[in-house]
């Protein structure tokens, strides 16, 4: 069975090795999903991608939206119209969607609406590690937090049910180590979708003019009270084990706690909170009052900890609450079994069972020998060519705001072409700000998917406020970093239908940019000339640097049995000048002694190094054609 079949046809009771994200997709299908909307972002992407791959076997509508705010609006409206809906995003995506999110809580929904926020403690693939549990407080949104893939599936179903019971959206908050853990997941039965969409007009609920909003706020507060009652009795909030020492935990940290108490041979009662907003206040108070001390173990913000303190204060409970405020645990980065073992040991004044210090000493010596290996642009990546050309055309005398995508990796040497980054779409706004105060070329880079996501308002701003920004849209015709999802520029929809392709250059011209040019970055000289011209142009300019993602193109060629002809270096002609490595630094470049060489397994045959070699020492391999 392939994954699409497991998700849509896998029989109840069967166990499969599922990624947490795949388990969420299956959970939604089991719950009778009718519509799902997303904008991809690690660590959430595989939820949408699984639904995309399974869409032809399923009975739901799926779409990749232009951004998370639109996705929230699409799913929110569908749920108002009585269709069970899912909206999926990474943690920072909820910032983008937060405007829609906040008011959705005021109007509520008719059918279940589950909002997945995949947080990224440790910033594995993100620009920050914000704790989105605080959004549940901010929005008064009921929240569930699974600890592993099985719970991720089961809680997705529970979230739909809760949402319908309360007529409110429910937040399913996961983290990287839940989303990206695989484990055996037992499937449940699939409830067929209700297929009874219906928009019942109720403008004095759904149209949030101030009079309506004022009326809806107290209703929301009442809903939180009702949700609190549910939380007090919820099976997701449960105590495991017995002892005078209590541990209050949730999400992935629960796993580390279970492993830690085993290592420490500790007798403790663990309060695992699965419904983390609203919290089961009375249950927590009872737990606190019955223990000698309670350790709170959670990643990032002291969310449970601060709540526990407030709950204790209300009842005059004096049980010591040990956590981040005393420094036993950090609010930075993700936890590991080790940090939890160390934190518990410190909090209880116990000795740590493993001699970590000894391992650390040996390790710090050894690991200092290991050269760093940061993520880099792939061999043959067209972005590498574009940044080489921008650097050459501007003599590196400009400032280079960048954006979110693979091309952010141009921060790495030798390109080092990334100067400022905030969030999705920020490169154009930041370019505007820099042109307003600096007298030098400002050349911003933004990806194709990111341009559609939130670049366009920045571009309108540049035209309207007459900022002479130079924007390079690095268009590799896919959402590459998150796993090659389609976007408006590709025209492929989430239903797997080829729809209208939206032209980036037409959008740029449409909003009033007069200098718009399309280049092929794999043609080096022409591209440098075009970028120079754009930089010299007196006004905002857009260059669309278009060439397909090397990974997608490689896969296409292999499928079509098209040859990939790699390049090689003639060692007789190579003078060892290092231009190919020091200026371009392709991942396929290797060295043998004093001469450059090319890894034929990695080379995609893009020909950029061939074009920049000052000694014409690089040539196509003619004998060793690789398919």
């Amino acid at each position: 069975m392939n994954m699409a079949e497991i998700l849509t046809k896998g029989a109840a009771g069967k166990r499969f090795l599922l990624l947490g994200n795949e388990a969420i997709a299956r959970g939604a299908i089991e719950a009778g999903l009718e519509l799902a909307a997303t904008y991809p972002g690690t660590p959430s992407s595989e939820i949408g991608d699984s639904l995309f791959r399974a869409v032809k076997h399923g009975n739901y509508f799926f779409e990749y939206c232009t951004n998370e705010k639109v996705a929230m609006e699409v799913a929110g409206a569908a749920a108002v119209a009585n269709a069970r809906s899912l909206v999926i995003m990474k943690h920072v995506g909820l910032n983008v969607a937060s405007d829609a999110f906040m008011t959705l809580n005021y109007i509520g929904v008719r059918a279940g609406l589950v909002i997945v926020s995949a947080d990224d403690p440790g910033c594995w693939s993100s620009q920050n590690e914000q704790d989105n549990r605080l959004y549940a407080m901010l929005g008064d949104t009921t929240m569930l937090e699974p600890a592993d893939p099985q719970e991720a599936k089961d809680m997705t179903i529970a979230a739909f049910e809760l949402s319908e019971k309360l007529e409110q959206p429910v937040l399913l908050r996961v983290t990287t180590r839940v989303s990206h853990t695989r484990s055996g997941v037992e499937l449940g039965s699939i409830r067929p979708p209700r297929n009874n969409p219906n928009f019942e007009r109720d403008p004095f609920r759904f149209v949030t003019v101030p009079t309506v909003a004022r009326k809806r706020h107290p209703i929301l507060v009442e809903k939180v009270k009702k949700a609190t009652e549910i939380s007090e009795k919820s099976e997701w909030n449960r105590i495991i084990g017995k002892g005078n020492i209590g541990i209050l935990t949730s999400g992935v940290s629960f796993n580390y706690v279970m492993e830690a108490i085993d290592s420490l041979q500790l007798k403790a009662a663990i309060f695992k909170v699965g419904m983390t907003y609203p919290l089961p206040k009375k249950q927590i108070q009872k737990f606190l009052a019955s223990k000698d001390k309670v350790i709170v173990i959670e990643e990032l913000k002291p969310y449970l900890e601060n709540h526990a303190r407030a709950f204790a204060q209300e009842k005059g409970i004096m049980t010591p609450i040990l956590g981040k405020s005393q420094g036993y645990f950090s609010e930075i980065g993700e936890f590991t079994p080790r940090t939890v073992i160390e934190g518990i040991s410190k909090a209880l004044g116990k000795e740590i069972p493993t001699s970590y210090a000894e391992i650390d000493n040996k390790f710090s010596e050894s690991v200092s020998e290991a050269p760093p290996r940061p993520p880099i642009l792939c061999a043959g990546c067209p972005h590498r060519a574009t940044f080489y050309e921008v650097a050459t055309a501007t003599g590196r005398k400009g400032v280079y705001p960048t954006d979110i995508g693979c091309y952010t990796l141009a921060i790495q040497p030798p390109l080092e072409m990334a100067d400022l980054l905030l969030c999705m779409g920020s490169s154009i706004g930041t370019s505007c700000g820099l042109t307003a105060v600096l007298d030098k070329p400002i050349v911003g880079a933004i990806g194709d998917s990111t341009f559609f996501h939130s670049g366009i308002p920045g571009l309108v701003n540049a035209v309207y406020n007459q900022h002479p920004v130079k924007i390079i849209v690095v268009d590799n015709q896919t959402t590459a970093m998150t796993g090659h999802q389609p976007h408006p520029g590709t025209g492929m929809t989430g239903m797997g239908v080829q729809g209208a392709q939206i032209s980036i250059e037409a959008v740029a011209k449409g909003v009033g940019v007069e200098y718009v040019k399309v280049i092929n970055p794999l043609k080096v000289k022409e591209s440098i000339r075009a970028i120079r011209e754009a930089v010299a142009y007196d006004g905002p300019a857009v260059i669309v640097s278009r060439s397909p993602c090397a990974l997608v193109e490689g896969a296409r060629k292999r499928r079509a049995n098209e040859p990939i002809i790699p390049y090689e270096v003639d060692p007789q002609t190579c003078q060892g000048c290092r231009v190919c490595t020091d200026k371009l630094g392709c991942a396929a470049a290797i060295w043998t002694g004093e001469h450059a060489a090319i890894d034929a397994d990695l080379c995609t045959g893009c020909g950029v190094c061939f074009q920049i070699c000052p000694f014409k020492a690089i040539r196509e391999v003619v004998t060793n054609e690789r398919v």
Binding site: L17, L19, T42, P43, S45, W124, S125, D148, T176, R177, H180, T181, R182, S183, G184, V252, N255, Y256, M258, E259, D262, S263, T336, P337, R338, I341, T354, Y356, I359, D360, K362, F363, E365, S366, V367, E369, A370, P371, P372, R373, P374, P375, I376, L377, C378, C406, T408, L409, Q412, P413, P414, M481, T482, T581, D582, G585, A587, A589, W591, D601
Partner: protein, 200 residues
């Protein structure tokens, strides 16, 4: 089984994730409790990657604690070094000899340590077994089968708590048909390979 931990390390794009999935899937088939940890997204692009496969009733989360891995499998020497704090003193480190040079080394900003330094450093933590997995992979049909060669090596050394035939079934289940023969060949080559053992 209470707990058996495998750390699989390598470089983004070399198939570490797929190989780890084969092992995790095989363990699940044998009825074991399994957790597999993986990293996606930006961390995947040509950078250092590691996957964990954890088997046994005591296992809850995906992360292997410091000093708790029974096996450290690395397709690349420096990547073994980068993760060697996970191995337990009674564990085994199995490392392919083929070096993948990081860009920082090509640019002259860092040095790649000599084989001798790497092996000595690794041996301070546990027994090291090394062999030319890359050549065997090339003979089997391509450098991407190097992971399967490593899995074969573990089977050959009788260190894997999963049966060979279950691993082969997992290969057939997870990989597309056209890659079955070459990966099964790679597994056999790894199993039968001559290996060097280094202890401190």
């Amino acid at each position: 089984m209470k707990e058996f931990n495998i750390m699989f390390t390598g470089v983004g794009g070399t198939g570490v994730l797929t190989a780890a999935r084969i092992l995790a899937s095989a363990a699940l088939t044998e009825g074991q409790n399994v957790r597999m940890g993986e990293i996606h997204g930006m961390a995947q692009r040509g950078g250092a990657v590691n996957c964990t496969i954890r088997i046994g009733e005591n296992v809850h989360g995906p992360i292997i604690p410091t000093g708790k891995a029974d096996l450290l499998l690395s397709v690349e020497p420096v990547e073994a070094l980068r993760n060697v704090n996970r191995i337990m003193p009674s564990g085994t480190i199995i490392v392919g000899e083929y070096q993948i040079t990081p860009t920082g080394v090509l640019l002259g900003r860092y040095e790649y340590p000599t084989d001798e330094v790497i092996l000595q450093d690794l041996a301070k933590f546990a027994k090291v077994i090394t062999f030319d997995a890359a050549t065997l992979a090339q003979e089997s049909g391509g450098i991407l089968t190097m992971n399967t060669v490593l899995i074969g090596a573990v089977i050959g050394l009788n260190l894997l708590p999963i049966k060979e035939e279950t691993v082969i079934s997992a290969i057939k289940e997870i990989l597309p048909n056209r890659y079955h023969a070459m990966n099964i060949d790679a597994l056999k080559k790894g199993k039968n390979a001559q290996k060097k053992t280094i202890t401190s």
